[in-house]
Structure formats: C-alpha cells, structure tokens
C-alpha cells in the first residue's frame, strides 16, 4: 500500500525546472534513499514531501491526501501529525536540554510526556545525557537527539535530509543502525543523501538528476540525463 505517491510533479522557478515531471511511489514500511548530485532536485523533493513547499503542478498524495491542495495550515498539521524530520545540521534548540528538545515535538503534536521523551532518548542511547544542552553534546549525540525527536510522535514517515552529512564513521553507523531498527519496526523512511554508503543501506534508491527521476532501482550512478534535456 502506497504511503506516498508523486504523480507528474513539477516545481518551476522562473525558467528553472527544479522538478520536471517526477513520479514515484513509496509504500508503507519502505526504506528509500533519494540520491543525486547537487542541483538534482533532492532538496526540492524533500521540501515537497516534508510539506514545506507545494509543487507547481502535479499531485502529491501522502496517506491519500493531496498535499498540493492543502493550505499552509493544513500542511503544518500534516507535518506535525505524520512526519518526523531529521536534519543534516541537527537543528536542536540551543537553550533547551536534550530532553526538552524531544519534548518540543510532543508539545506541538499533543501533550509533552517527560517519561516517554526519556524513553526515546534511551532508545538512541542518550538517557544519561538528557539534561545536557546541545553545546554539551557531540555531533553524533546531537543527531541521535534529533532522531529521538523525529520518532517521539510515532510518525508514519521519517524524512531525513543528509542525516550523516556531519557525522564521523562511528556515529554514521549508530544512526544507520537506528534507521535499521525503525525500518524493522515498520516505519517508512525516506533518506535524502549523496552518501553512497547511506544509500546502499536503504531498500531502494531513487536517483534524481536535473529534476528528473533517472533510476528507481538502486543504480546510484549519475549522468543519465543530458544537460540539453533540461528545460
């Protein structure tokens, strides 16, 4: 069953086609990596899937709802209720502790629950760092707090933007292990990355180039779309 479906999606900025007739389908429980070189449209896809932007044309069905027709408030509701976001730069609130950062996501979603937030931190191996401020945590630890925050509301979809981009090898492994656990539990994961190793960990790799899907089969080599094909 498809959780997310993009049908003939375009995103056009003036003369630039950031997304050019993109169609793809992601099933519930799938772990998909979206890869591509810089300027391929990865961020644009991420923004649209993450309900932070709307396509110029086309349909984006998330759990059966076309987000292209949603108002700004509707997109906020979908983001809050269905999506967990993980960022390359972690984006923790610097004056809140690790625990409070996790609870912020609960606060906007429903009801803050300290015990549950602590369990989420425990799950990412940071229960003992709950009272630490982000500045007192290493990059890997911050990213794990970010993961805990993303999964605290049990979202249908976890969307990660270059989640290991700022991590060393050992922390990258920890984060990928966490993704594996989430995947095993049936969580749908979409990871935008240009890291082949992160891509290889996914079940399926969708490759974008110049705003077009060039591969959906795990072929991570780029260069299938000639520059002249781009409008």
């Amino acid at each position: 069953m498809a959780l997310l479906e993009l049908k003939n999606v375009y995103k056009i900025y003036g003369d630039l086609h950031a997304l050019d007739d993109v169609s793809l389908k992601i099933d519930v429980g799938e772990w998909v990596a979206i890869m591509g070189p810089s300027g391929s449209g990865k961020s644009t896809v991420m923004n649209i899937i993450g309900c932070m932007d709307k396509p110029t044309r086309g349909e984006v069905l998330l759990d059966g709802v076309d987000i292209a027709n949603e108002s700004s408030r509707g997109l906020t509701d979908i983001r809050r209720d269905k999506i967990g976001l993980i960022f390359q730069q972690f984006h923790l609130i610097n004056y809140l502790t690790a625990l409070e950062n996790v609870m912020v996501a609960q606060y906007y979603h429903s009801m803050p629950d300290e015990k549950e937030a602590l369990e989420a931190l425990e799950r990412v191996g940071l229960a003992d760092r709950a009272k630490h401020l982000p500045s007192q945590l290493s990059g890997g630890e911050q990213q794990r707090v970010c993961v805990a925050r993303a999964l605290i509301n049990h979202p249908e979809l976890i969307l990660a933007d270059e989640p290991t981009g700022n991590l060393d090898e050992s922390n990258e492994k920890i984060v990928l292990d966490l993704f594996r656990q989430l995947h095993d539990e049936g969580t749908t994961l979409i990871v935008v990355t240009h890291d082949a190793e992160v891509g290889a960990a996914a079940e399926r790799v969708i490759t974008l180039e110049y705003g077009k899907v060039t591969s959906e089969d795990g072929d991570t080599s780029f260069g299938k779309v000639a520059r002249r094909d781009v409008v």
Partner: protein
C-alpha cells in the same frame, strides 16, 4: 506534563539561558518601569510635597474680623477652621497699641512657638520667650529703643475705655490710667520684614497686660489644598461663620498652582518619552531576537508549530520580560522617588502599593505593543530554511 508547564519551561529557558540578549530588553523595561513608577509616585505625592514646601512661604489664607467687628474670638476662629478641612496650621494674632516712654509701639500676642515653627526665616538672637514676663523684640524696635537680650523694659498699655476725660492728663501731657508692666527681652527678632517693627509676647502675657480675653485681628491659615479647593473653603467660611472674613493669599496659592502644573507637565513629558524609549528598545531587541532565531523558528514550524504558537511563544517571552521588569521597576521606582523626594523636597515619600500592579500592567502593555511587529515577522519565517542549512 501539561502543555502550559512545557510552555513556561520553554520561555523561561529562553530568557534564563540566553541571558546576554534578553538582559538588554529586561534592563530597558526595568529602567523604564523604575523611572515611570518613581515619577508617578513623586507626581502623586507632589501636592503634599509642594504643600510642605509652600508652608515655608507662609499662610495661603487669612481670617480677619468681618465688617464692624472689633476682633475674632477664639470660638469664631475654631468654628471657621471646623467648617473646612486640611488646615495644617493656624496662628492667631492680636495687635494692640502700647507705649514705651510715651513712644508708640505695637505689641503682638500669639502662640510664639507655633509661629516660630512655621517661620523658618526668623532669626533670633537670644531665645523665644519661655516664661511669663518675657518678650521678643523686632530688630528695628530693639535698635530704636537700644534694647538688648536680658534688658528689662516697661510697656504701658492704655485700655480703650481710658480717655483723657476719665483718666485725666498729667503735667507732661500723658494720659493717666495706663497699665504699666515690666518685661525682660528674651530675644531680638531679625526677619528682614515687617515683623522687626513689633514686640511679640505670649497670649497669656498679652491677656494680663490688656486685662481681658484676646480677640484676634488676624488668623493665618496654612491649608493643604489647591486654588480651587481654597476658593471653595472661602465660600464655606463665609456661609457658616458670619463674624469672620476669609481672604486668600493669592501670591502663595497662585504660585503653588503654577509650580504644580508646570511640574505635572514635566512629569507627563518625561513619562511619555520614557515609555517611547522602552518601546523602541524592546522592539529593537525583539527584532534582533527574531532575526537571530530565524532558524529556530523555522525548525519549530517544521516540527508543526502553527503561526499562533510561534506568536504565543515569542509574545510570552516579551511579556515575561515585561512582567519581571515591571515588578523590579515598581520597587526600584520607590527608591528613585525616595531619592528625589529627600534630595529635592527634603521630605520622605509614601509607598503606594497600588503602583505595583499598575507599573506591571503598563510594562506589560508597552512590551506587548513593542513585540507586535517583531513577533508578526517571526511567523513569516519559511520552515524550509532549516533544510537549506541556513
């Protein structure tokens, strides 16, 4: 945990853990609230303070006998005082003509301690009369009669009913029937004014000399009231005490009204400028805060915060600063008012408990107003910017 608990946890953490930036706003609100509360306290207390100051300039109302009446009795004076309120001091004077070695003088009977207490410009060489038979002599008269402290002088008083026909005239042409009494000069009075032409004695000595109860020629009243209230008091006395004619000392009442209105205008001006300065500082700080925290706002929106939530949180921070600043300012304002009062007016000031909530409400209102624009700007932040690595 309740959402409200988490809300307060977030806004207090934002202020407590980001001290440097928020301290600027807090300082601005506190200083503003201090000046505001202090000025209001001084302003509120100013009529009393000014009243005390103007007390030094003398009475602002005098009572004189009405029409043909020879003088006012003590009862009439008290009746007039009872008809109005706010009389801070009353001194009645009885003037009589007398002679020293046949040279005419004017003797004044009054409560000398009271007169001295309300006449700070009186300079006395020696002391006030403290015993029966002592007299205070005006400087002019002391020089004229070559009187010094400790000298004795014989004062002759001719009762109004003693005439040349009844009492006879002696060889020197002096009227017989005079009452002579010796007095000791306890002090010489130097005022630079008309008082230097009089001899002052206590009410009791005066009664003993003239041989009857005193009736007063003038009663000086110092009333703590503005010009309109004084005018109303005049009408009350005129209506209730026919033997007494009240008159305003316009030089004093009008000066007081003028000074008060000018000071009030000054206080109002400073208050308005202070409020404007608080608004500018808080608005500038909040704008800087919003700019600095664009990424955080984007993140919150990405996590599902509505525009209303973002406004509520930033406004909450602003209002918390307003509340703390207002609370601190209301107490510091008392200190400020106390300093102004002791240094400028030379008197203490009364703390107004009602000023605490008033200062807090004003600080909250000004802070809220200053936050509106920056907070609205905060809602315009695009959540997608957190993905762009900005």
């Amino acid at each position: 945990m309740k959402r409200s608990t988490m809300y307060f946890r977030m806004i207090t953490a934002s202020i407590a853990r980001r001290r440097s930036r928020m301290l600027v706003a807090l300082l601005a609100v506190t200083v503003g609230a201090t000046i505001l509360a202090g000025l209001v306290m001084v302003y509120y207390d100013m009529p009393r303070q000014m009243g005390e100051q103007f007390l030094a300039y003398g009475a602002n109302m005098i009572l004189v006998p009405n029409g043909d009446s020879e003088g006012m009795t003590e009862d009439e004076v008290q009746e007039a005082i009872g008809a109005i309120g706010g009389v801070e001091s009353d001194i009645s004077y009885c003037y009589e003509s007398a002679t020293i070695n046949d040279a005419p003088i004017i003797i004044t009977g009054c409560d000398l301690d009271k007169t001295y207490a309300t006449s700070p410009y009186w300079q006395i060489e020696g002391a006030l009369p403290s015993k029966p038979g002592e007299i205070l002599v005006g400087l002019e008269q002391a020089q004229f009669f070559s009187l010094h402290v400790g000298d004795t002088v014989s004062i002759a008083y001719l009762p109004p009913d003693a005439t040349a026909a009844t009492a006879g005239v002696n060889l020197n042409g002096a009227v017989e029937g005079k009452v002579f009494q010796g007095f000791t000069v306890s002090g010489i009075l130097d005022t630079g004014g008309s008082e230097e032409n009089y001899f002052f004695m206590s009410d009791k000595d005066m009664e003993a000399l003239i041989g009857r109860s005193l009736t007063y020629d003038v009663t000086e009243l110092r009333i703590n009231a503005d010009a309109d209230e004084l005018q109303a008091d005049v009408e009350k006395i005129e209506a209730n005490v026919p033997g007494v004619s009240p008159q305003l000392v316009k030089r004093i009442t009008e000066s007081q009204t003028t000074v008060l209105s000018k000071l009030s205008a000054l206080v109002l001006l400073v208050t308005v400028i202070t409020l404007a300065l608080i608004m500018i500082t808080v608005a500038t700080t909040m704008t800087a805060v919003v700019t600095e925290r664009r990424r955080e706002i984007g993140l919150r929106k990405a996590l599902g915060a509505s525009d209303g939530s973002i406004m509520f949180e930033f406004m909450g921070e602003g209002l918390l600063i307003g509340f703390i600043g207002g609370l601190l300012g209301s107490f510091l304002g008392f200190g400020f008012a106390y300093l102004v009062s002791t240094n400028v007016f030379n008197s203490t000031i009364t703390f107004l408990p009602a000023l605490i909530p008033v200062t807090i409400i004003v600080a909250l209102a000004v802070t809220a107003l200053a936050c509106i624009l920056p907070v609205r700007n905060a809602t315009k932040v695009d959540p997608a910017l957190v993905l762009k690595g900005e």
